[in-house]
């Protein structure tokens, strides 16, 4: 839902929520939900913007759920920047944005999508509107925000459930990790080798984090050229793995291996019997053995210190008991108190085993002691993962639920950390679970049990088996299978015999010892008990499995791997942002002074991802384009398939005309359009500038008899460079005393406008001014067109655009200093170069003349002095800022005034 509606409800009349977006405020590692909004109000000086941030009580928001947290006026210190975070540029992830202003820096995550894009575009537009307005000191536009700022300052924070200290912060703590973490991860090159790359990453990190205002000035771009960003390579690693896993069938085939899984509760007895009858009973030797023991050692030491004297002898017994027709290697041994698990593999398969890890979980007293619980060994055999668990669950007939709980505890707590991510038991392709699971027979009398055993009606007995019942109810060993039990119960015997328990307790026989399995292509071949072994009150059990293991075909693996890499390369290349530009070579014709020309190019997102474009600075340049060029917008965000018009405007004003007339600069620029995370495009802008007397120097104009347009360009350049009349015969005339253009304008005013009211105060017509300018540039008109006001404004503009003012810069300060004494002023003027002095003399004479007709033209001498003072006397451009105050303005006027009221003849 668009939150701008609710925001609007909270605003005063005349204020409008331009755009709003849901956002997350990032505070350290925490993210809290916020609504960000751009609010506009109309002031006398144009639209005015504020950035608002609200806390939200619930989503979707209503007005009453919003509480204002932050207000930042959109002024010169306000900036928005999309953080270039290479670890997060997966499509669809949030867009991290930094917002700063009024001394605050906020990191927001905006949800990926056009809404956020629109919001950012609106913010940038607000910034550019602000920058196009007069400086803020002049007016106080942000007064309307004061009431809101007060709200955020005085509100009682404890009332806010979403404030940084409450529930929200707690919730936020458990939310996603901060992007610094991701970034740190992505930097985890595990080879000293990649030092060079690390260096570069370091650089790019620095590039991305520096917050610079966007679009506030032409030069304030966050990006610079040549930043060749790319994803840190390790980001791709999990993706490669994922793809490889998907294609597993293409490079593996199933090969069947024989696995022996056995379990025996040895009741703390020493290993005095040969285990061959249990382990080497079959004709063919298995490929893998998994042998589990329970109650290996019932001593106190084993219980308290997990230190067993029996371990060694039993391992030895097992080793000797393995099938004699094959050689085996021990893969791993793990023991917790009396639970021991051993895995052996045929020597020739050993090299196909990897990622071997063993873990234990105790579920005894306190849920920790190791008298009950499980031990497990996991490994990868070829491309199939195995987990083998040996467990001893809680005893006693009535405690089957306790056994279920032991099982759940083992599953929940058993975790293998060698692999990334860590694995639990169930995440393995094949799970074999052996052990004294201790499930008994329920709801049946011992005599009946023994009778059924006698008749070998195991299926009937099985109906009373707690494990089967619990499994059927899916209370335990979900998804596990067990081969059908065709052997007599393995518990409880008088040790050393095959006789049922004759002790006082007279236990009901039960199948305590079981072997279960889980996984595809796992089939039980034979499930049996081994009555020949008599030393314990339990009989050992074993199950032979044929398991299909995914064996890698090296050639196919390499082929698929290469395919995957190629596919990822292709995807990555396809997902690079890409645009097309309707034109990359703009030619402007006949650019004239003060006559803007505009051309529009269209940028179309031809890529598959949203893209942000920006005109960026060339190296060592502070602005992305020349001062006579203006690009709107200079940055933006486009969705795939969308187009965006960009206006390029050439406008030569007094600041740039001088350099263009003199040939120091030409209308040529190459813009660099940079796509965030992508390539750069060059846009060439060229234009013919029609030279004008406007912006030309007094000296150069004095050296031109004819109009400026008739002077060859090369000659113009020479003239401006100060080398007048060298070779050309047509130029062999003595220089003019003052530029003819000034003479023409002033003479016209002298002849036609001495009595004109409001002269130099009422603006002229724009069209007439252009006409007059063309007239001055192209010919020697007999009459100047246009009404007096236009001619007068033209004169002022002409004086304003002189590269060196009538009173040259170097005399400026002295003139101000001596403005109160006419003799000094006169003396100063005598030092001024001839042509400048002539112009000055001529203009002041004209002003004195004008003032003679004060009765008719109602001209005030002080007003005229103010106008001409500001044009004839100017500080150097770089000093202009601190010089332009009221005091200097008055002194400039005073200087001119001296010449209005005193006779002056140079």
């Amino acid at each position: 839902m668009d939150p701008s509606g609710p925001v609007q409800q909270l605003l005063s009349q005349g204020e409008k929520c331009v755009s709003a977006a849901d956002a997350y405020l990032v505070q350290g590692r925490a993210r809290v939900s916020r609504v960000a909004a751009l609010v506009e109000t109309e002031t006398a000086f144009g639209p005015n913007f504020g950035f608002f941030m609200f806390g939200t009580k619930r989503m979707p928001v209503q007005g009453s759920d919003l509480t204002l947290v932050t207000v930042i006026p959109v002024k010169e210190d306000f900036a928005v920047e999309v953080i270039d975070d290479p670890s997060q540029d997966l499509l669809g992830s949030d867009v991290p944005v930094k917002v700063c202003g009024s001394g605050q820096v906020l990191t927001l995550n905006l949800p990926f999508g056009s809404k956020s894009g629109n919001f950012l575009t609106a913010l940038r537009r607000a910034i550019s509107i602000y920058t196009s307005q007069p400086p803020a000191e002049v007016f106080q536009p942000f007064a309307w925000l004061e009431k809101y700022e007060l709200m955020t300052a005085t509100a009682d924070r404890s009332d806010w459930p979403w404030s940084g200290t409450g529930l929200d912060a707690m919730a936020a703590e458990i939310v996603t990790e901060g992007f610094e973490d991701n970034f740190a991860d992505s930097l985890s090159f595990d080879d000293a080798a990649s030092l060079a790359s690390q260096q570069d990453l370091g650089d790019s990190e620095a590039d991305g984090s520096g917050l610079e205002p966007v679009n506030v000035s032409r030069g304030g771009s966050a990006s610079t050229m040549g930043s060749m960003m790319a994803n840190p390579p390790s980001v791709r690693e999990p993706i490669v793995k994922m793809y490889m896993l998907k294609e597993e069938a293409k490079y593996t085939h199933l090969k069947t291996f024989r696995i022996f899984a056995g379990t025996w509760n040895v009741n703390g007895q020493p290993a005095t019997e040969s285990l061959k009858a249990w382990l080497a009973k079959d004709s063919t030797p298995p490929d893998l053995y998994a042998v589990g023991f329970q109650e290996l050692d019932l001593s106190k030491e084993a219980f308290v210190f997990n230190d067993s004297a029996r371990e060694e002898e039993w391992v030895k017994a097992v080793t000797h008991g393995l099938h004699p027709e094959a050689s085996y290697r021990r893969v791993r041994l793990i023991r917790l108190v009396g639970m021991m698990l051993l895995v052996f593999v045929r020597s020739e398969h050993n090299k196909f085993l990897s990622q071997i890890e063993a873990q234990t979980v105790g579920t005894g007293i306190m849920g920790k002691m190791g008298n009950k619980g499980g031990v497990a060994i996991r490994f990868d055999f070829h491309n199939t993962s195995f987990c083998i668990v040996n467990s001893h669950l809680a005893a006693h007939t009535e405690h089957y639920e306790r056994r279920n709980q032991d099982y759940s505890d083992i599953c929940a707590r058993m975790q293998f950390n060698l692999t990334q991510p860590p694995l639990t038991i169930h995440k393995h392709n094949v799970v074999l679970w052996v052990g004294d699971l201790n499930y008994r027979l329920s709801d049946i009398e011992i005599s009946e049990v023994k009778a059924l055993i006698e008749k070998e009606m195991f299926w009937a007995l099985m109906e009373h088996d707690q494990l089967k019942r619990q499994m059927n109810e899916r209370s335990v060993f979900k998804d596990f299978k067990e081969a059908s039990v065709n052997f007599i119960p393995t518990y409880k015997y008088d040790p050393g015999t095959d006789d049922w328990d004759t002790s006082e307790k007279c236990r009901v026989p039960a199948w305590c010892d079981r072997v279960l399995c889980k996984g595809d292509s796992v089939s039980a071949v034979e499930y049996r008990s081994h009555r020949e072994l008599k030393l314990s009150d339990h009989k050992p059990v074993s199950c032979l499995f044929d398991i299909g293991v995914k064996v890698i075909d090296e050639d196919n693996y390499k082929r698929v791997f290469e395919e995957v890499i190629r596919k990822l390369d292709k995807l990555e290349n396809e997902f690079l942002p890409s645009v097309s530009l309707s034109c990359v070579d703009l030619k402007f014709e006949r650019i004239k002074f003060l006559e803007p020309q505009k051309k529009t190019i269209s940028i179309t997102n031809t890529g598959q991802v949203p893209c942000q474009f920006e005109f960026i600075c060339k190296l060592d340049e502070k602005e992305y384009c020349k001062p006579w060029l203006n690009v709107q917008p200079s940055l933006g965000f486009i969705m795939p398939g969308d187009s965006y018009p960009i206006e390029l405007e050439i406008y030569v004003d007094k600041n740039t005309a001088g350099r263009l007339n003199s040939g120091e600069d030409s209308l040529e620029d190459i813009l660099v359009l940079h796509l965030d995370g992508g390539k750069d495009y060059f846009v060439t802008v060229q234009g013919d500038f029609i030279p004008s007397c406007f912006g030309s120097s007094i000296e150069a104009l004095c050296n031109m008899r004819g109009p400026i347009r008739e002077v060859p360009v090369a000659r113009l350049v020479d003239l401006e460079a100060g080398s007048p009349s060298e070779t050309s015969p047509e130029d062999s005339f003595s220089t003019l005393p003052i530029p003819k253009e000034i003479w023409l304008l002033v003479d016209h005013l002298y002849k036609h406008a001495l009595c004109q009211e409001d002269l130099f105060q009422q603006p002229g017509l724009h069209s007439e001014i252009e006409e007059i300018r063309d007239c001055l540039d192209t010919g020697m008109p007999d009459t100047i067109p246009g009404q007096p006001h236009s001619v007068a404004e033209c004169l002022l503009m002409f004086l304003d655009s002189l590269p060196e003012p009538v009173v040259p810069h170097q005399y400026y300060q002295s003139c101000l200093d001596s403005c109160t004494r006419f003799e000094l002023c006169e003396q100063l003027m005598s030092q001024v170069p001839e042509h400048h002095r002539n112009v000055f003399k001529y203009l002041t004479a004209f002003l004195r003349e004008l003032l003679k007709y004060q009765d008719d033209n109602k001209r005030d001498p002080k007003m005229l002095a103010m106008i001409f003072g500001g044009l004839l006397l100017k500080p150097k451009p770089d000093e202009a800022k601190r010089q332009n105050n009221q005091q200097t303005a008055r002194r400039r006027a005073t200087f001119i005034y001296q010449f209005q009221v005193n006779p002056y003849d140079g």
């Binding site: 790359s197 040549g226 995440k427 190459i670």
Partner: protein
């Protein structure tokens, strides 16, 4: 396949390691020498006859395997036109490798190599790996620069040298692989193994192949012209 499938880690030493790294390589040279075609051939294994001037900076990614190490090469294709030179130079500073490309049918593009080389000296990092590429080597009718001339210039500038044809897909992979290998070796990232096919910056397999000496290859079968990459280098 059940839902419990997980990623099975690979283990044998012959495989690519589980990490890789990124190198940046720049293509420079006069307009029209075929920089974009070389990039296109290497990355997409395709070729287009039409010439569209690159106006800007483009880049593509390609993963290569060198000595069992996976390396991502980011190849930057630059505008060759003179008027963009001042701008394109600014991209040199972050490159680890530069391919200076000329066209064997254009003498001007060949003589201009000295200018490009100077730019590299001036703007690229000091230890940047440079390679001279003589492209369009398939065009025997219009060839004006012999292989010897190219080799001589490469020797003069101490660059490695390859004659390539993006059109016929000759030596493109090999050149990139050799460059990658050289960068890695130069930066001491991986010591060169004994069986490396790169010697003195040249791929032994391919330098002996003289395309000017009547080696006619059917257009349709670009694979034919490719020499077998040795075990040390392969393109994935």
């Amino acid at each position: 396949m059940n839902s419990n499938h997980r990623m099975v880690g690979r283990r044998r030493s012959s495989e690519a390691k589980q990490y890789d790294m990124l190198l940046r390589v720049l293509l420079i040279g006069d307009s029209g020498v075929g920089k974009t075609c070389i990039l296109y051939r290497f990355v997409e294994d395709d070729f287009t006859m039409s010439h569209i001037s690159t106006i800007g900076i483009d880049f593509k990614l390609k993963t290569v395997e060198v000595n069992g190490k996976r390396i991502r090469v980011q190849i930057w294709d630059t505008a060759g036109q003179e008027r963009y030179e001042t701008i394109t130079k600014q991209y040199y500073r972050r490159a680890q490798g530069v391919l200076l490309v000329y066209d064997v049918t254009s003498e001007k593009s060949f003589t201009n190599i000295s200018k490009w080389a100077n730019d590299v000296d001036e703007y690229a990092p000091e230890d940047v790996e440079r390679m001279l590429i003589a492209n369009k080597s398939d065009d025997r009718d219009w060839r004006v620069i012999s292989k010897q001339q190219g080799q001589k210039l490469a020797d003069l500038y101490r660059m490695s040298f390859f004659e390539t044809s993006a059109y016929r897909n000759v030596n493109i992979k090999e050149a990139f692989l050799a460059l990658t290998n050289n960068i890695i070796r130069r930066q001491g990232i991986i010591p060169a193994p004994d069986n490396s096919c790169v010697k003195d910056g040249k791929c032994i397999h391919d330098l002996d192949m003289d395309l000017t000496a009547g080696d006619v290859t059917p257009l349709t079968d670009t694979e034919e012209t490719k020499t077998g990459a040795c075990s040390a280098c392969s393109v994935v």
